[in-house]
């Protein structure tokens, strides 16, 4: 188990809110030296010295030199390590200061701000004597002073206090060192990652690479993660969440995004994130050394943002439609129309056929469900004794033209005793149902005549 792991293990205990305070505190104080180990390592000291040398011009690194590149990589790693250390330190100070002012950690989540505030407050109970201007926004200061007056915390012992402030100092030192590294980084950025720095600006590029720990790491991250790099968690302190910028990371510091109107900032950051990965890939492969690709992407993004802001084209009034010349026959009521409609209306019989009684299979023309169904016709309970065919007076009568007396027939008749209607024995026997057409019987008549003729 490494020292770090021991420390992390201890940390887990401390996450319980229940006061295990006493025992952990003792263990913690050994941990203080452990967490600040980084500052004592050779690596750290060596790199910081090198940076100083370069900055002062004592050490000249040629661009594209492998030594420079190695230094950059080391710087990257160091940045990440410093971040971790700062976090450790923050955890430590937070845990110790919980006894004094437990609400502070939720009001001031940012490690550096927390450390600064802690140093200023120290062991004070009356926060009106403490001047927090410049470290925090005034709203937060107010909230802190109110919570401090009602806190359930107790004063720290002298020894505890000293150790805590010591830890804060170290956190701040680490932060300072990190900023130094980043500045150095920024100055070299153009030669390390020209495209990325021409896309988002060297400061943001430096921060991006620094927070991820190297260009290769940046390239391997998905774009949605990169978008959120550097996003701070801010407390609301009772204010509405409408104005708190959520999900914006380092990209909001680029010049282009600063100039976009607030509703479009999200989309702009997204665009930058996607393009920055592409630019980073180019840089990793040492493709375009001049940074042209980055510039091209930046121009594209600017144009896109401008497009978003364009107004939609003016709405022209719609021209009137061509006058309709088809004169539709006016079909609106009247006695005549009603009567013509009634000729084609559904008859009562049909209505009964269309309905069925529930649970009773309907009778059909061929029996057993075959053939046409009869529905409610003739069923018990439909209210009719038997099916009657209502002859609508309006339905057209089908008249058989052939049955009518023609002129010729009348002329042919010789004696008054003979009937002008041609009657054969066949026709005599069949009884004509009144109303039914005699079409078939007529056919039979003619055939019979012919047959009997010969």
């Amino acid at each position: 188990m490494s020292i770090r792991e021991i420390f992390f293990g201890l940390n887990d205990f401390e996450d319980d809110v229940n006061d295990n305070g006493g025992m952990d505190m003792a263990a913690n104080f050994n941990g203080l030296d452990e967490f600040s180990e980084l500052q004592k390592t050779q690596r750290y000291i060596g790199i910081m010295h090198k940076i100083d040398d370069v900055n002062q011009g004592l050490l000249v690194l040629e661009h594209g030199d492998s030594a420079e590149y190695q230094l950059i990589i080391d710087c990257n790693k160091l940045c990440v390590d410093i971040d971790k250390e700062i976090l450790n330190g923050h955890n430590f100070t937070r845990d110790t200061y919980r006894l004094k002012l437990p609400e502070l950690e939720s009001l001031v989540p940012h490690p550096i701000d927390y450390a600064r505030v802690l140093k200023k407050i120290g062991n004070e109970t009356d926060l009106t004597l403490v001047d927090l201007q410049g470290i925090l926004p005034s709203a937060t200061i107010m909230v802190i002073s109110i919570t401090a007056s009602t806190t359930r915390g107790k004063l720290l012992t002298e020894e505890n206090l000293n150790k805590t402030i010591d830890a804060c100092d170290r956190v701040l030192d680490l932060n300072f060192a990190k900023n130094k590294v980043l500045d150095f980084f920024e100055s070299r950025m153009k030669y390390i990652a020209p495209n990325l720095s021409s896309l988002v600006g060297s400061a943001v590029a430096a921060k991006l690479i620094g927070s991820v720990g190297g260009l290769p790491a940046l390239v391997n991250m998905p774009a949605s993660n990169i978008q959120l790099l550097g996003a701070k968690r801010r407390t609301l302190s009772g204010f509405s969440s409408a104005n708190s910028e959520s999900h914006v990371g380092f990209f909001q510091e680029t010049a282009v995004v600063q100039h976009t109107p607030p509703p479009l900032k999200h989309g702009a950051c997204k665009l930058f994130a996607y393009k920055s990965i592409l630019a980073a890939r180019v840089d990793l492969a040492r493709g375009d050394g001049t940074g042209n690709i980055g510039r091209k992407y930046r121009d594209e993004i600017s144009k896109k943002i401008e497009n978003w802001q364009e107004r939609p084209p003016a709405k022209l009034p719609k021209p009137l439609p061509v006058p309709d010349l088809t004169s539709k026959p006016k079909k609106r009521g009247g006695r005549r129309l009603r009567k013509t409609k009634m000729r084609y209306a559904i008859t009562n019989m049909k209505k009964l056929v269309n309905r069925m009684q529930f649970g009773v299979p309907e009778k059909s023309s061929l029996g057993d469900g075959y053939g046409e169904g009869y529905g409610m016709l003739g069923q018990a309970g439909c209210g009719k004794m038997r099916v009657t065919v209502n002859h609508s007076r309006l339905a057209p009568r089908v008249t058989n033209m052939k049955c009518k007396k023609t002129e010729q027939d009348r002329n042919d008749a010789t004696s008054g005793l003979t009937l002008s209607l041609p009657l054969t024995p066949v026709q005599e026997s069949s009884s004509l149902i009144p109303g039914q057409s005699s079409y078939f019987s007529k056919l039979g008549t003619e055939a019979n005549e012919y047959y009997w003729q010969a």
């Binding site: 022209l316 009034p317 021209p319 009137l320 439609p321 061509v322 006058p323 010349l325």
Partner: protein, 146 residues
């Protein structure tokens, strides 16, 4: 569209197919003419599917042939064409061949154009004006002495 030459007028009349052509003869400086022009411009796009418009300046010399042919004497006269046929409209005034004066409302003008369109599509050469007589501008012919 502003037309000044006979050729342009010719081409416009010939080239407007299946649409009413509204030809306004007038001066750009006259008050009544300006009113009329204003209404025409406002309704150009609305009527664009079945009508098109052109403005002819009376004062240009090239066009005097038309001025004489249509007997345009009063300020602004509007003549309707359909497929190169001259459409007449009976609006209760003496002259059926043209519309004299301005329109009171944009809708009036659109109604007139629609009436002409319907009549023309049916094959009539003269249509009746759909406007009530109050809204039809009447001019008193003032002779030299009276």
């Amino acid at each position: 569209m502003r037309l000044t030459k006979k050729k342009e007028v010719d081409s416009v009349i010939r080239d407007t197919i299946d649409k009413v052509l509204v030809l306004r003869f007038g001066k750009a400086s006259d008050l009544v003419c300006l009113q009329l022009d204003d209404i025409l411009e406002k309704s150009v796009r609305e009527v664009s599917k079945f009508a098109s418009m052109a403005l002819v300046d009376i004062e240009s010399e090239d066009v005097q042939v038309y001025v004489k042919y249509f007997d345009i004497t009063l300020l602004s006269s509007t003549i309707f064409f359909f497929n190169a046929h001259h459409m007449k409209m009976d609006s209760g005034t003496a002259d059926h061949t043209k519309w004299i004066g301005a329109f009171q409302r944009k809708q009036d003008f659109i109604d007139v154009v629609e009436a002409i369109y319907r009549g023309a599509m049916k094959g009539k050469l003269i249509v009746t004006c759909p406007l009530p007589p109050e809204r039809i501008p009447r001019f008193q012919l003032i002779f030299k002495d009276v």
